[in-house]
């Protein structure tokens, strides 16, 4: 039974969410404010978190950053606005996905399940410059032994690119295989995550050497 943290200030939506997830055999920690949410998070680490960006005082971003700085669990941000600025800021703050309000409850459920799926196994470990990537364990280790923390989504993205053996993968393909979105997923998710990934694994993120953008087509990984 997975634990889910929900930070949502609207009472009714929060209640409805709690009811729904409890009905689907989740353990629900529901908070009405960022402070309560962070407190709950500190007390017990959930498997996944859902945060409403539009908490009073722009604290949604704060909560997201706090969670991300502590662990790699998937974070889904929810917002009534899909302004590019908000979404990108949320994704940059560490969220793995965003869902627009009003959401179809079934779809939110499906999202959550998708993000909780086990990491893909069966892929051989490979080297990325001076980094060693081990999909079985889900780790990225530097030559000096220090670990680089990737979120589940970032890791999936990296292994997906590696599995293509240098072929170009389109945004659609990545959306479908990493997030489970169909043809109509949002390309911004891919772009922001690519930026985050590069910042973590590239020696010089401004001039990427491993993860390359192919204009008009997508991305590819060069080992």
């Amino acid at each position: 039974m997975a634990r889910i943290l929900i930070i949502e200030d609207d009472d009714r939506i929060r209640t409805a969410l709690r009811l729904m997830f409890e009905g689907e055999s989740f353990i629900v920690d529901a908070a009405a404010s960022a402070e309560d949410g962070i407190a709950m998070f500190n007390r017990q680490t959930p498997a996944i978190a859902i945060i409403d960006l539009m908490l009073p005082g722009a604290n949604g971003f704060e909560a997201c950053r706090h969670i991300r700085s502590t662990c790699d669990i998937p974070v889904i941000i929810v917002s009534a606005r899909d302004d590019t600025a908000d979404v990108v800021e949320g994704l940059e703050a560490g969220a793995d996905d965003y869902v627009k309000k009003p959401f179809v409850p079934r779809e939110l459920l499906a999202r959550v399940r998708a993000h909780l799926r086990r990491r893909p196994t069966g892929r051989a470990a490979f080297a990325l410059g001076e980094l060693r990537v081990t999909p079985e364990e889900g780790t990225v280790v530097r030559s000096d032994g220090t670990e680089i923390h990737l979120t589940a989504t970032e890791f999936k993205l990296l292994t997906e690119l590696a599995g293509a053996n240098g072929r170009v993968l389109s945004r659609e393909h990545l959306l479908e295989h990493v997030w489970g979105y169909d043809y109509f997923g949002d390309g911004r998710l891919v772009d922001v995550h690519m930026r985050r990934l590069r910042a973590k694994v590239e020696p010089e993120s401004a001039t990427p050497t491993f993860i390359l953008t192919v204009r008009g087509q997508g991305y590819k990984l060069v080992l």
Binding site: R12, P102, P105
Partner: protein, 460 residues
């Protein structure tokens, strides 16, 4: 008169004004000049007559035999004809003249100098009679004024030409100034037309301050500003309402979902009620989303993320997604495209278009729906056919209106549609620079065709 344009009337007024003024001026000039030259001619002729009369008097007194030749020489010198009457004797020079030409009124001997201008053979003639009581004779002088006639003729001709020319100039000046003066009217009319067609950025440039043109421009600009403000307000209202509705709607949807999860625990009647509730909540949510979309389109605040996509794959994906998301029956999809084409669209909005068209086809059709892709003039088409009753020709424009429910919809009492489906299709297609039309379907019902312009691969 009333139908003649303002510009025409003003030009006419200019021309007539110029004509009248120049005619008056010409008239004054003409009569003035005529008076002057006639008077001066008469004065000089009189002087001449006095001189001649004095000569005649002394000739009559001293040397009558020389009278005739005197008169002849006088006539030659002055281009006139002279006569002297002594009693009943008339003495003349050699110029052809006849005592008969002296009017009867002159022939009566008088004691004063008299003169008269008469017309003889269409020529004006000045006749002067100088009585010479000292020798009991009268001296007559006839002078033709044909040269005066000629001068006045020429003067008149010039003045008439001048008047005509001035009138023409007046008309021309009228046209030019009215065009400049009325240009603001034409500008305003043009600007108003642009605004009516939807361009709300149009404003009139202001002229010199405090002029009538400036007043007009300011009033027009103010009007358009107010219009923009009102439209903004309306758009924002629609948008605000939709936003406000979203939260309670989400809660509704989620609660319905929760109930559904536990529907096994419900009484059959409750289960039925729940089914109705779920459906209507779904419709309600669609309506709010549609309203929001339309409000954004109206206010122009919807940002499009256009991408160049392969048409075939795009349509395929849209039909798949629509079928899955809205639980539609499987639709047969066919392509008659000879090769790959590319279009530039926002993929999510295009998906809405396909979804709405399919939903419409299933809702009002006979159950069978096909989707066909066709090449077309400068673009590509996707045709959605159904085997329903079709749409009457006089309704084919109106179905795209918001909340339009044709006969069909009202009759079937089918309230599942939001009423905005086709309106959104129309708005989105317009934004893609495309067209949507309705024709008859080979399946027997209605065929809705969306035409999109094609672009080159890799272009933006």
């Amino acid at each position: 008169m009333a139908t003649r344009s303002l510009r025409g009337r003003l030009t006419w007024t200019f021309a007539v004004g110029a004509a009248v003024l120049s005619t008056i001026f010409a008239g004054l000039t003409y009569f003035g000049v005529r008076h002057i030259i006639v008077v001066s001619r008469q004065a000089s002729d009189l002087q001449q007559a006095y001189v001649n009369a004095a000569l005649v008097r002394s000739a009559v007194a001293q040397e009558p035999a020389s009278l005739s030749s005197l008169l002849t020489s006088l006539d030659a010198a002055t281009t006139s004809s002279s006569l002297v009457r002594l009693g009943s004797t008339w003495i003349e020079g050699t110029t052809v003249a006849d005592p008969e030409t002296i009017p009867a009124t002159f022939r009566v001997a008088g004691t004063e100098v008299i003169r008269q201008v008469v017309i003889e053979n269409n020529v004006p003639v000045l006749i002067i009679a100088v009585p010479l009581p000292a020798v009991r004779a009268t001296y007559f002088q006839r002078r033709e004024l044909a040269d005066l006639n000629g001068t006045l003729n020429r003067l008149l001709g010039i003045l008439v030409l001048g008047t005509l020319f001035t009138s023409g100039l007046g008309a021309y000046a009228g046209r030019r100034t009215t065009r400049r003066a009325l240009a603001p009217l034409a500008d305003t009319a043009h600007a108003a037309r642009l605004v009516a067609e939807g361009d709300l950025t149009v404003r009139l440039a202001s002229d010199a301050p405090h002029s009538e043109v400036a007043t007009l421009s300011a009033a027009f600009n103010e009007m358009v500003d107010q219009l923009v403000r009102r439209l903004d307000r309306d758009a924002r209202f629609a948008s605000d309402v939709s936003h406000e509705l979203r939260s309670p709607l989400t809660t509704l949807a989620m609660s319905a979902e929760v109930l559904r999860l536990h529907e096994g625990d419900l009484h059959p009647d409750a289960r039925e009620a729940l089914a109705l509730l779920t459906t209507d909540v779904a419709t309600f949510q669609s309506l709010v989303e549609d309203l929001l979309d339309i409000a954004k389109a109206d206010a122009g605040t919807d940002a499009l993320f256009n991408e160049v996509l392969p048409f075939n794959e795009l349509v395929n994906q849209c039909v798949l997604s629509a079928t899955r998301r809205h639980q539609l029956p499987t639709t047969s999809l066919r392509s008659e495209l000879p090769r790959e084409y590319y279009v530039s669209v926002d993929r999510r909005r295009f998906e809405r278009v396909i979804t709405n068209l399919l939903e419409n086809a299933y809702r009002y059709g006979g159950g069978r729906v096909t989707v066909t892709m066709l090449p077309s003039n400068g673009g590509v088409e996707v045709a959605v056919d159904d085997n329903g009753p079709g749409i009457a020709p006089d309704e084919r424009e109106r179905v795209f209106e918001r909340f339009y429910r044709g006969d069909l919809a009202s009759r079937r009492g089918n309230a599942h549609g939001t009423g905005l489906g086709l309106a959104l299709v129309s708005e989105h297609v317009k934004r893609f620079a495309g067209r949507v039309t309705i024709t008859d379907s080979p399946l027997g019902g209605c065929r809705m065709v969306v035409w999109l312009p094609t672009v080159e691969e890799g272009g933006e």
